[in-house]
């Protein structure tokens, strides 16, 4: 299945890219997506995750066609 992964702010700069498009097996989770794109680097505790523009926990399952995003703590307002 095909998953789009987006990065924002300081994480985007650290990754050196704004997005990835990955192919995964039948069942996967947000944390497994992180492992794929980070080449095994552990997810920092403060990183936030979303699927299809809604906040989720790292254990949330990911489906074909989902847009997964990772980003640092928010600082708007």
């Amino acid at each position: 299945m095909s998953i789009t992964v987006l990065y924002f702010a300081s994480l985007r700069e650290q990754m050196g890219r704004a997005d990835d498009h990955i192919e995964a097996g039948t069942a996967t989770t947000v944390s497994e997506v992180w492992s794929r794109i980070s080449e095994g680097v552990e997810m920092p505790a403060n990183i936030l995750c979303s699927i299809n523009k809604e906040y989720v926990d790292a254990g949330h399952s990911v489906k074909d066609g989902d847009e997964v995003a990772f980003f640092p703590p928010v600082t708007g307002g």
Binding site: S50, A69, T75, G76, G77
Partner: protein, 143 residues
């Protein structure tokens, strides 16, 4: 109404124009307004400019969610949220939150709720331009 703006806005003109457009005249007795502006200092450093990044789609959706939650909790007659994105200079307005209610308690509480939820959870990120170099703001001040 919720809006993201890529250019400078005057919160007081926006407020006046929006209130003039409301069809609830005579119904509201309390309007609470919060305006957040860009400072030229942060953590002891001079800040010359700032870039506000957001997550197109999710940011608007999240602001909408916050306002809907406020409507569930308090008897809001109307609300206006405007937030800047892109390149910002000191003294520019960053955010305007205004709510119209029959009475002041709900107006104060609802505007505070919207603002605090926005600061804590809406996907925006600030990058400051200092005298030398740039840095990401790592977290918002607690109050």
């Amino acid at each position: 109404m919720i809006q993201l703006r890529e250019s400078r806005f005057d919160p007081w003109l926006e407020l006046q124009a929006y209130q003039d457009s409301l069809a609830i005249k005579g119904k509201y007795g309390a309007t609470a307004v919060f305006v957040g502006s860009m400072r030229d200092f942060n953590e002891g450093d001079e800040v010359r400019a700032m870039t506000l990044e957001h997550y197109p789609g999710m940011t608007e959706q999240y602001l909408d969610k916050i306002v809907h939650e406020a409507v569930q909790k308090w008897p809001l007659l109307d609300s206006l949220v405007i937030h800047r994105v892109g390149d910002i200079l000191p003294d520019d307005s960053i955010v305007l939150v205004a709510v119209w209610c029959a009475h002041r308690a709900s107006a104060f509480d609802a505007s505070r709720y919207i603002m605090e939820e926005l600061k804590s959870n809406a996907p925006f990120w600030k990058k400051e331009t200092l005298t030398e170099g740039t840095r990401w703001v790592e977290k918002n001040t607690p109050s």
